[in-house]
């Protein structure tokens, strides 16, 4: 196979189709002076009116795929098109400098966009993109008018290639015609990315120098599952594509057929499969895989890629949205888990010699209480919108749990005194990531509503190996008997006391380990959403009795290698 270009996978899928470099060859900024000022101003006015109509009909037609946030953005676009300052500055350039309308729109849009981009408020600086988006729309309308062809109403075909893609263009795409989207710039959390996921168009962003490497009409092969783009695919590669495409379609059909089926073992024992969610852009995939709830929502992503922590209001909005999306299904939001490998520059936290053993998770929140209290208030306020459970990460001592709960009580009191509505039943639980906590679980049982095993860190701390350090990588294993023993004990103890226990690390989606986890008595597993259909299939091949036998056998194994071979042997006989 030829060397592919690597980008960021936005929405999975495969496509083999000709390249369509959108607009890049059609939009030209005319440097010549305009011949007639009045005609040019009229041309601009027509483009403004056309743009308004397009956005209005877009909001109407696409209500179903646009979220409230996206609708707000397009409504702002309409207001931009009526902005007297923006319009008059463009008209001034045409009138006084005799600029072509395209140049005036380009220059003034960039000026406004740069003014916003320079602001420290991350919300406002992100709006600079919307002004660029509006500028591009005006330019498209101006250019098509003069070219008299390819009006934006005619459908776009093939695999689109662009420098970057704006939400307003995505909203106009028809997935029947557009086979894929490739861009040089853009991130996986942008609105454009979220919309592409909703439309289920295979997409890859961040492909370096894309536009220089391809020409219009080049047939390319994109593998958006892995973020790879193959130029000039050979006959072999095309055959490979056809096979892959077939497999992928089969897989998708299978997943769809499983979507509404409850996860259970062959002998009808119900297992609850929950989703791990690390970004708002993961929410559409929840609809697709239909989990029984969210087992781990990593709230720290709200704090990344910005210059200041999110306000209580912003957090409240997002938590409420998640709870509403889940429509009453159990939703576990984990409080801020930073420190260790997760660093947030604007908090200016001192560098630590040994960050994984340092101030991280709940420890950090108890020191930086302003951050913690803001988040707790936002969570408590959002609790009216769904079945909220709140979970603390990295609990090591009971006293930390007690301190956190004391803070919750104080914040509850404050909110009550202001008559803020709060659900009566937010549940509170802890993650078990530290061996000390795993061993002391009985002492938490009377007070804690639920437990969740965070296997990634539990392995790292049990085996004393940094999971990011490649030189000790062999010590870090899902099959480490010491860790499996801890999990078994936790399952037995919580079952005995009838306390909820779930497991939410990578291990929960490990298809080979599933039989062992079921054998230990675990009934709630949380995993990345795309693993859910695969785990459902695995469960259909298992019975509880067989799994219990397997677990007993594994608990006697002396090493990770032995564990793995027992598991593989078990699975090959299913």
């Amino acid at each position: 196979m030829s060397q592919p270009i690597q980008g960021i996978a936005i929405y999975e899928g495969l496509a083999l189709a000709p390249i369509n470099k959108v607009y890049s060859h059609q939009i030209q900024i005319a440097e010549d002076l305009c011949l007639d000022v009045l005609t040019e101003k009229a041309r601009f006015e027509t483009a403004v009116n056309q743009s308004k109509q397009q956005i209005q009909s877009l909001i109407e037609a696409k209500k179903s795929i646009l979220g409230p946030e996206e609708i707000q953005i397009f409504e702002a676009h309409l207001m931009f098109l009526e902005d007297p300052e923006y319009l008059s500055q463009i008209n001034d350039k045409i009138q006084n400098q005799k600029w072509d309308a395209t140049k005036a729109v380009d220059v003034i849009s960039k000026e406004f966009s740069q003014m916003l981009a320079a602001l420290p408020d991350p919300y406002l600086s992100a709006r600079s993109q919307d002004i660029r988006d509006i500028g591009q729309r005006l330019l498209r309308n101006l250019s098509f008018k003069s070219l008299g062809e390819n009006s934006p109403q005619s459908p776009l075909l093939g695999i689109l290639a662009l420098k970057e893609i704006h939400p307003s263009l995505v909203a106009e795409l028809n997935p029947l015609y557009v086979k894929g989207v490739l861009t040089e710039e853009g991130g996986s959390t942008s609105h454009a990315a979220i919309l592409l996921k909703n439309l289920e168009i295979p997409s890859i962003f961040g492909l370096p120098h894309l536009l220089q490497k391809i020409e219009n009409g080049d047939v390319v092969l994109m593998d958006a599952r892995n973020g790879m783009l193959f130029l000039n695919p050979s006959a072999e590669e095309k055959t490979w594509f056809q096979n892959q495409e077939l497999e992928f379609q089969k897989e998708k059909a299978l997943w769809n057929s499983l979507k509404t089926k409850a996860a259970e073992t062959q002998d009808g024992f119900r297992i609850h499969l929950h989703a791990n969610v690390g970004a708002l852009s993961d929410l559409p995939s929840l609809e697709k895989y239909n989990p029984d709830g969210i087992g781990l929502f990593r709230t720290e992503f709200l704090f990344l890629d910005r210059n200041a922590p999110p306000s209580e209001e912003e957090q409240f909005q997002i938590y409420s949205k998640i709870l509403q999306t889940m429509k009453g299904k159990k939703t576990i939001l984990r409080t801020l888990d930073i420190g260790g490998d997760k660093i947030i520059p604007y908090l200016n936290l001192p560098q630590e010699e040994n960050p994984f053993l340092g101030l991280r998770g709940l420890r950090l929140c108890l020191v930086h209480q302003d951050l913690f209290r803001t988040q707790i208030r936002a969570l408590l306020r959002a609790s009216v919108h769904g079945a909220l459970s709140i979970m603390y990460p990295m609990v090591t001592q009971k006293s930390e749990w007690e301190q956190a709960q004391a803070i919750v009580q104080e914040e509850l009191k404050t909110l009550h005194s202001k008559n803020v509505p709060i659900a009566s039943t937010p549940r509170f639980g802890i993650m078990i990531e530290v061996p000390a906590t795993a061993l002391m679980i009985e002492s938490y049982i009377p007070d804690v509503d639920f437990f969740s095993i965070g296997t990634n860190d539990l392995i790292q701390y049990t085996c004393a190996c940094d999971r990011l350090n490649p030189s000790v990588r062999t010590l870090y294993s899902h099959y480490e008997p010491a860790v499996l023993k801890l999990i078994h004990q936790l399952a037995q103890t919580t079952q005995h006391h009838q306390k909820d226990l779930s497991l939410c690390g990578e291990m929960g989606g490990d298809l080979e380990l599933i039989p062992f986890l079921i054998g230990c008595g675990l009934t709630h597993l949380s995993m990345s959403p795309s693993q859910i259909p695969k785990v459902k299939l695995r469960l259909q091949t298992l019975t509880r009795e067989k799994c219990q036998h397997l677990a007993a056998q594994i608990l006697k194994a002396p090493s990770a290698i032995d564990v793995k071979s027992i598991l593989q042997n078990f699975i090959s006989h299913l």
Partner: protein
């Protein structure tokens, strides 16, 4: 010609984002008078949503509303009211 001004504070936690800036611009446009908002010595057209957003006004910060024209007094009152009611439409 009349002129009027008033100092107001943005009470919400968020800054002057698209929604409140849009409401403000719409309201200001209903008056004949020239309306300006002045923050840190920078004056911006109160009828322009983009200019208002570019002030970067944060929650808790104060800003001067200034209007000149026949209905300057009413314009300032109306915008002052928007700030006081936290831009509830």
């Amino acid at each position: 010609m009349n002129s009027s001004e008033a100092l107001v504070t943005l009470e919400s936690q968020d800054g002057l984002h698209a929604r409140p800036a849009g409401i403000l611009a719409k309201r200001a446009s209903q008056f004949q008078s020239k309306v300006e908002l002045i923050h840190n010595g920078v004056a911006k057209n109160g009828k322009s949503i983009m200019s208002l957003m570019s002030l970067g006004l944060k929650g808790g910060e104060s800003i001067l509303i200034k209007a000149e024209g026949e209905d300057a007094l009413q314009a300032v009152e109306a915008i002052k009211h928007l700030f006081e009611s936290q831009f509830k439409e």
